[in-house]
Subunit: 237 residues, 2 copies
């Protein structure tokens, strides 16, 4: 029966992805709201930066898995840029290095952050689940799971403003990662949306893409749940 | 018991890898010998080019899997170059595009080659086994399996000379792929040897590396077995 359903139009699919993604996006998480309202303590902000770094380290790994699923050199040529964005062209460059400077900017021990040994178990499980999703699902679904980037540019813009206003003790130059993400996330999400719209040609494939995006929002949400819940357990970093 | 064996010295390990790889390297395969002696027919040379293209298409895929297994941005920054080497920076560049020009140079239908639909089953299985090996084994073993590159520069140099001499009907400019591989394979294999020597710290890990290299030589050998055996079945391309 469902096999007979006509595929959604391009606009319907984009609207559905946007709606399902937006209402689950982690900017609405209580911990995240508090971050932007300026009511996180230094210890809380540090806990977020330390744990989120583990998520950051999974990005080039899941992007390499996406590359490995593609048979198209043109697709790979475009997608490989994301790995360079995070790893940089040389030591000290790229998103991971920028995140470590942010860690320094919020007063964390950079070596501890980089080791990832203080990462909360729940955060680790959620981030690893993202890599597993990308490894096990189709290329199309893996690309669709990246569509949370759709909502990232607005969030990054607001984040820089919120941090500069509420957490003046964080060195402004260490917010470089968030600033860079604004244009890159916009470019990346447009590329991924185009890919999904072009390749999700059946209703069923479209639904799988929406499911993958929802699962990804759950991963980002769980990360914040774990960071928030760790508050009562004291400072771990 | 074997857990008590002392690891081989750096030189012993390199010598072992070189010896085990060299004596199984596919340059000694009868079909390959005939290629360099100049006794392959145009149909045989075409069959090799068409089938070997499938192997070429697996390279960026296995290299992306290797990237995905590394936790080290510095390692990834170095290894990612291999993907660029094959995919190029833009349409028409890179090793895969060069191989398609070679296909044109030997008189093949480039679209047919690129589609990979005429690839012999045995060739496909062998090449897919390479991707599976890289996917399923450790990063160290996956890197070790690339060490056939150790022997490639010499082979490429000899191949260009042999082809120019024996197959003058092949346009010389389409041998670009082989020419480029001389310096790149040298650089890549040195990098991979250094990695293996540094990370194979126990006798057991060293043995796993030698095993991975041997398996890789079997894959390259099987490719030629299949191409050779197809001769009696007539021209498939």
């Amino acid at each position: 029966m469902s096999a007979e359903r006509a595929p959604r139009s391009r606009d319907e699919l984009i609207e559905l992805l946007r709606r399902e993604g937006e209402r689950r996006y982690h900017d609405a998480h209580p911990f995240h709201r508090r971050m932007h309202e300026g009511t996180l303590s230094q210890a809380e902000l540090q806990r977020w930066v330390l744990n989120r770094y583990y998520y950051q380290t999974r990005i080039p790994i899941k992007d390499a898995l996406i590359l490995s699923k593609s048979e198209d050199p043109a697709f790979r040529r475009a997608w490989i840029r994301r790995i360079h964005d995070h790893d940089g062209e040389r030591e000290g460059e790229g998103g991971l290095a920028q995140w470590l400077r942010l860690a320094d900017g919020v007063g964390l021990d950079v070596e501890l952050v980089q080791s990832t040994r203080a990462v909360l178990p729940g955060v680790r499980f959620a981030c690893d689940a993202y890599v597993t999703l990308v490894r096990e699902r189709s290329l199309l679904e893996a690309v669709a799971s990246s569509l949370t980037e759709f909502f990232a540019p607005d969030l990054m813009t607001r984040r820089v403003q919120a941090w500069e206003r509420h957490y003046p003790w964080v060195k402004a130059e260490t917010l470089e990662y968030f600033r860079n993400r604004v244009t890159r996330a916009r470019r990346d999400s447009h590329e991924a949306v185009d890919y999904v719209v072009e390749h999700a040609k059946t209703y069923e494939l479209q639904t799988l893409c929406v499911d993958a995006l929802i699962r990804k929002t759950e991963i980002l949400w769980q990360l914040l749940d774990s960071v928030e819940a760790a508050g009562s357990a004291g400072e771990r970093a």
